[in-house]
C-alpha cells in the first residue's frame, strides 16, 4: 500500500467527517434527535475510521483494517442529514450496507478472512442481499414516516402503506435472522479459537462486554423516564463504545506479534538441523505443543515421522492436517490443533518459512528410513550367508563324506573277499583306498573352513582354541567361556580366523594373542601379533571382515606399524 493512498484515504475520511459534522450543526434541525448524541456518533465513526487506518497501515495484508474503515464510513453515511429528498432517500438506503460490513468485520477478525466456507458464503450472500434489496427499498420505502419533517421518497413508485410496511417487516425479520446466525457463528468461532486467535479476540470481547454493561444504567433510567445520556454515566458509556474499535486495532496488532513468531521461526530453523528440531521450532511458532510433523517420502508414497517411522496423518474433529508444499511438490504435513485453521495466513507463512529446511529434513528422514532398511538387509545377508555355510557343511558331512566312507568300507570288504587271490588286485584296492582316504581328509579341511562344527556345538572359546592349536605361532588366548548369539560368535570366529591367517602369511611374528571380552552390551575381539606390521587394512581379507562386522553394526579397527606388530580389533554390539 502506498503512502499516497493512505494519505488520500485519511483525507477523504476527514472530509466525510467534516461534512457529517457540518450537516449535524447546520442542517440537523429538521430531525428531532439529540444533536450532542449525533455528534458523539460521528466521533465514534471517526474512531473506527482512524483505528482502521492505523490497522491498515500496520498490517496492509490484513483486511480487518479496511473493514473497520468501511464500517465507520457506512455508519457515518447514515448520519448525513440532508433534508433534500433525493439525498435523504439515498442515505437511508445506503446505511443498510452497515449490516453486511459489520458481520464481515466480526467474522473476518483477526485473520482478515472469514474462517469457514459457510462463513464466507454467509458474508457474500449478505452483500448480495443488500444489492438485491436496496433498489426495492428505494422504490418502496416511505421516508416521510421517519420523522415529522422528514422528506418523502422521490423514488417511490408504489404508493401503498401496506406494501411499505410489509417490506419493512420482511427486512426486520431478515435482519433478526442475520443477527442470530452471526451470534451463533461468533460463539462457535470463540469456542474453537486457537491460542493465537484467542489472544487477538480477547480485547474485543472484553470491550464489547464493557460497552454492553455500560448501557444497562442508561436503559434502566430511560425505562423510568429519565435521560442520563448527558451525565458522566453517558460519557462513560460513550467512551466504552469508542474502546471497541481500539480493541480491534489491538487485536490486529497482536496477530502482528504472532507474525514476528514467523520471523523467530526463520531464525530458529537456521540453527535446526535434525528433523525433530524442525518439528519443535514449528510447534513453538504455531504455539501448538502437540503438533506432529510428517515427512512425505515420494518413493514409498507414505508419510514418516522425524525418526523415520511410518505415520498416517488423518484429519478428524480433534486434529487438522495441513499439507506443506515446495514448488508444488508435497514435502510434509502438519497435524495440528484445528483452531489454527482460523489463521490460514499464519500456517501459510510458517509453511513458507519452513519449506526449505523441511525439504532438507525430509531428505534426512528419507535417508534414515533407507539406512535402517539397508542395515537390516545387510544383517540379513550375513545371517543368510552363515546359515548357508552351515547348510553346506552339513551337506558335505552327510553327503560326500559319508559316501566316500562307504566306498572305503566297500573296498575293505572287497579286499577281505579276495585275500587269497591275486596280489595285484589287492595292491590296486589299497591304492584306491588311500586315494579315497586323502579325498576324505581334504573334504574334512574344506568343511572345517566353511563352518567349524565345534563353533556351533561348543561355542567361541573352544573353536578359537582349536584354531590356535593349528596356528603357526604360539597364541595366548584370553576368552571368557560364555555362549554368545550365533551371528556374533560366527563373526568373532571369522575375525580371529582371518587375523591368524594374516599372521601366518605376512606378519613373521613369534607370537600372537587373541582376546574376546564382553562388556557394556558389546563384544570386543582383539588379535595382536609382534610381527613386522604393515598390514593392508583395505586388502580383500580385512575389507571382507570389516563388512561382516559392520553388518552387525560393529566396528573393525586395524592398527599396524612397520616393525611394531599389528592389532586387529572388532567391537560388536551384543545386548
Amino acid at each position: 500500500m502506498s503512502r499516497r493512498l493512505l494519505v488520500a484515504s485519511a483525507m477523504a475520511a476527514l472530509l466525510l467527517v467534516a461534512v457529517a459534522t457540518t450537516l449535524i450543526l447546520w442542517a440537523h434541525g429538521f430531525k428531532e434527535t439529540d444533536r450532542a448524541q449525533e455528534l458523539g456518533e460521528v466521533v465514534l465513526d471517526a474512531v473506527w475510521i482512524a483505528t482502521g487506518l492505523v490497522a491498515w497501515q500496520r498490517r496492509p495484508g490484513n483486511r480487518v483494517g479496511l473493514l473497520m474503515m468501511a464500517a465507520g464510513v457506512a455508519d457515518l453515511v447514515s448520519h448525513l442529514y440532508w433534508s433534500a429528498p433525493v439525498a435523504y432517500a439515498l442515505v437511508s438506503v445506503l446505511s443498510g450496507l452497515q449490516i453486511p460490513i459489520f458481520v464481515h468485520l466480526f467474522l473476518a477478525f483477526p485473520s482478515g478472512r472469514p474462517t469457514t466456507r459457510f462463513e464466507r458464503r454467509f458474508v457474500a450472500s449478505l452483500y448480495c442481499a443488500w444489492i438485491a434489496l436496496a433498489p426495492v427499498a428505494l422504490l418502496l420505502a416511505d421516508t416521510s414516516d421517519d420523522c415529522e419533517r422528514c422528506p418523502s421518497n422521490p423514488f417511490r413508485v408504489v404508493d401503498s402503506d401496506a406494501v411499505a410496511s410489509a417490506f419493512g417487516t420482511v427486512a426486520s425479520v431478515l435482519a433478526a435472522g442475520v443477527l442470530v446466525i452471526t451470534v451463533v457463528l461468533l460463539v462457535r468461532k470463540v469456542r474453537r479459537a486457537g491460542t493465537a486467535t484467542r489472544r487477538a479476540m480477547g480485547p474485543v470481547l472484553l470491550a464489547i462486554t464493557i460497552a454492553a454493561v455500560s448501557l444497562v444504567p442508561l436503559v434502566v433510567a430511560e425505562s423510568v423516564g429519565s435521560d442520563l445520556s448527558d451525565t458522566t454515566v453517558g460519557l462513560i458509556s460513550f467512551l466504552a463504545w469508542c474502546a471497541i474499535p481500539v480493541a480491534f486495532l489491538v487485536g490486529v496488532l497482536r496477530t502482528r506479534l504472532q507474525r514476528s513468531a514467523v520471523a523467530d521461526l526463520v531464525v530458529e530453523l537456521g540453527a535446526a538441523s535434525r528433523p525433530d528440531e524442525v518439528r519443535d521450532a514449528i510447534a513453538r511458532a504455531l504455539r501448538d505443543p502437540s503438533l506432529e510433523l510428517a515427512f512425505w517420502l515420494p518413493a514409498n508414497e507414505r508419510y514418516v515421522d522425524p525418526a523415520g517411522r511410518p505415520l498416517d496423518p488423518t484429519s478428524d474433529g480433534a486434529r487438522a492436517v495441513t499439507v506443506l508444499e515446495n514448488d508444488e511438490r508435497r514435502v510434509a504435513a502438519l497435524v495440528h490443533d484445528p483452531a489454527l485453521l482460523d489463521e490460514p495466513e499464519l500456517l501459510e507463512a510458517v509453511g513458507a518459512a519452513a519449506s526449505l529446511t523441511l525439504e532438507n529434513a525430509r531428505l534426512q528422514a528419507e535417508l534414515s528410513a533407507q539406512l535402517t532398511e539397508v542395515r537390516a538387509s545387510r544383517a540379513r545377508i550375513v545371517e543368510a550367508g552363515d546359515a548357508e555355510r552351515r547348510r553346506l557343511e552339513r551337506d558335505l558331512h552327510d553327503g560326500a563324506q559319508q559316501r566316500l566312507l562307504g566306498v572305503r568300507l566297500a573296498l575293505q570288504l572287497a579286499r577281505g573277499r579276495i585275500a587269497d587271490g591275486d596280489g595285484s588286485v589287492d595292491d590296486l584296492l589299497t591304492e584306491a583306498d588311500a586315494e579315497v582316504g586323502d579325498a576324505l581328509e581334504e573334504l574334512r579341511a574344506l568343511a572345517r573352513g566353511i563352518h567349524p562344527a565345534i563353533l556351533t556345538d561348543e561355542g567361541l572359546a573352544p573353536a578359537i582354541a582349536a584354531l590356535a592349536r593349528r596356528a603357526s605361532v604360539p597364541i595366548e588366548l584370553n576368552i571368557a567361556p560364555e555362549r554368545l548369539p550365533e551371528p556374533v560368535e560366527a563373526t568373532a570366529y571369522f575375525v580371529a580366523s582371518e587375523a591368524l591367517a594374516n599372521v601366518a602369511k605376512h606378519a613373521r611374528a613369534s607370537r600372537a594373542t587373541i582376546g574376546v571380552a564382553r562388556t557394556n552390551g558389546r563384544v570386543a575381539i582383539e588379535v595382536t601379533d609382534d610381527g613386522v606390521g604393515g598390514a593392508d587394512a583395505e586388502g580383500t581379507g580385512l575389507r571382507g571382515l570389516r563388512d561382516r562386522v559392520e553388518a552387525l553394526d560393529g566396528q573393525l579397527e586395524v592398527e599396524t606399524q612397520a616393525g611394531a606388530g599389528t592389532r586387529v580389533t572388532a567391537v560388536i554390539p551384543c545386548a
Binding site: R394, H397, D398, Q401, Q402, R403, L405, G406, R408, L409, A410, L411, Q412, L413, G416, D433, G437, L440, R444, A447, R448, P452, A453, I454, T456, D457, E458, A461, P462, A465, A466, A468, R469, R470, A471, S472, V473, P474, I475, E476, L477, N478, I479, A480, P481, E482, R511, T513, G515, A517, R518, T519, A524, E526, T528, D530, R567
Partner: protein
C-alpha cells in the same frame, strides 16, 4: 564280542556291520538316533556301542550325550564315539570322570579293520582309546613357553601313547622296551609336567589330555570382570605371554 551300531548314515552303518560280521563280531542291533540306541542298550546290553557323534534331531553331539547316558546307566558297556572331526573338547567330555571303557576316534578309523577290532577289544576290556591324530595335533601345537621342552624325545613318544590311552604294557610292546622302562619314563613325565603321579592308567589319560589342551595354547578362562580389566590394558602388553 557283541556290538550295537548307531549312525543315521545307513550306507556307512551297514558297511561297518558287514565288515565286523565278517570278522567274527556279533552286531546285535543298529540304531538311527541316540534315543533309539539307549533303548536298544537297555533292552540287551552289548559289550560295546559304536556311536556316530552327529545324529538326528540336532545333528550336533547327540552321540556324545548318548554315550554319557549309557556310561552312567551301564558302566559295563563300552562306548566308542566316531566323528568326522575330532576335537579336544569332545575328547575331554568323554573321558572326564571314569575314563574307562571309552573310545573317541575319527570315523575313518573303521576302515582299518585290524586296528578298529583292536580298539573294540581294548574298550570292551576296560581300556581307553583316544584318536592318535588328535593327540599328535595337541603335542605339535606351538606353545609358549613349551612345557614339553623339558621332555626327552623318548619321553615325548611315551606321552603321546599315554594320551592315546595305551596301557604300560601296550606302550612297551609298541616301543620294543620292557614294561619297567616304560614305567620309569611315565614317572619322569608326570613329575616334569607336574601331574599327579598316583593316577591309574586310565585316569592319567584325562590328566595328560587336559594338560595338553591347556598348554597347546595359553588359555585364561577368567570371570568377565577380570577379562575386562585385562582386556583394557591389553595395549600395554598385559596379556603378552612371558
Amino acid at each position: 564280542m557283541r556290538v550295537i551300531l548307531a549312525d543315521d548314515a545307513v550306507l556307512v552303518r551297514e558297511g561297518i556291520a558287514r565288515l565286523l560280521a565278517e570278522h567274527g563280531v556279533e552286531v546285535v542291533g543298529q540304531a538311527d538316533t541316540g534315543e533309539q540306541l539307549v533303548e536298544l542298550v537297555a533292552a540287551d546290553p552289548p559289550d560295546v556301542a559304536v556311536i556316530d557323534i552327529r545324529m538326528p534331531p540336532t545333528f550336533t553331539n547327540e552321540g556324545l550325550l548318548a554315550a554319557q547316558a549309557i556310561r552312567d546307566a551301564f558302566p559295563r558297556v563300552g562306548t566308542v564315539v566316531l566323528s568326522q572331526y575330532v576335537d579336544i573338547e569332545y575328547a575331554l567330555k568323554l573321558v572326564t570322570g571314569t575314563s574307562e571303557r571309552v573310545g573317541y576316534l575319527l570315523k575313518d578309523r573303521v576302515t582299518d579293520l585290524k586296528e578298529f577290532l583292536d580298539v573294540l577289544q581294548r574298550v570292551a576290556t576296560g581300556g581307553t582309546v583316544v584318536e592318535p591324530s588328535l593327540v599328535a595335533e595337541l603335542v605339535a601345537a606351538p606353545a609358549a613357553p613349551d612345557p614339553l621342552g623339558e621332555l626327552t624325545a623318548r619321553e615325548r613318544e611315551v606321552l603321546v601313547l599315554i594320551a592315546e590311552g595305551k596301557t604300560d604294557r601296550g606302550i612297551a610292546n609298541e616301543l620294543f622296551v620292557t614294561r619297567k622302562t616304560v614305567e620309569a619314563h611315565v614317572r619322569s613325565i608326570l613329575r616334569k609336567l607336574d601331574l599327579p603321579a598316583d593316577a591309574g592308567e586310565n585316569r592319567r589319560v584325562h590328566a595328560v589330555l587336559a594338560f595338553l589342551a591347556a598348554n597347546g595354547s595359553t588359555i585364561h578362562l577368567g570371570r568377565p570382570s577380570d577379562d575386562e580389566d585385562r582386556y583394557g590394558h591389553a595395549g600395554h602388553g598385559a596379556t603378552r605371554s612371558v
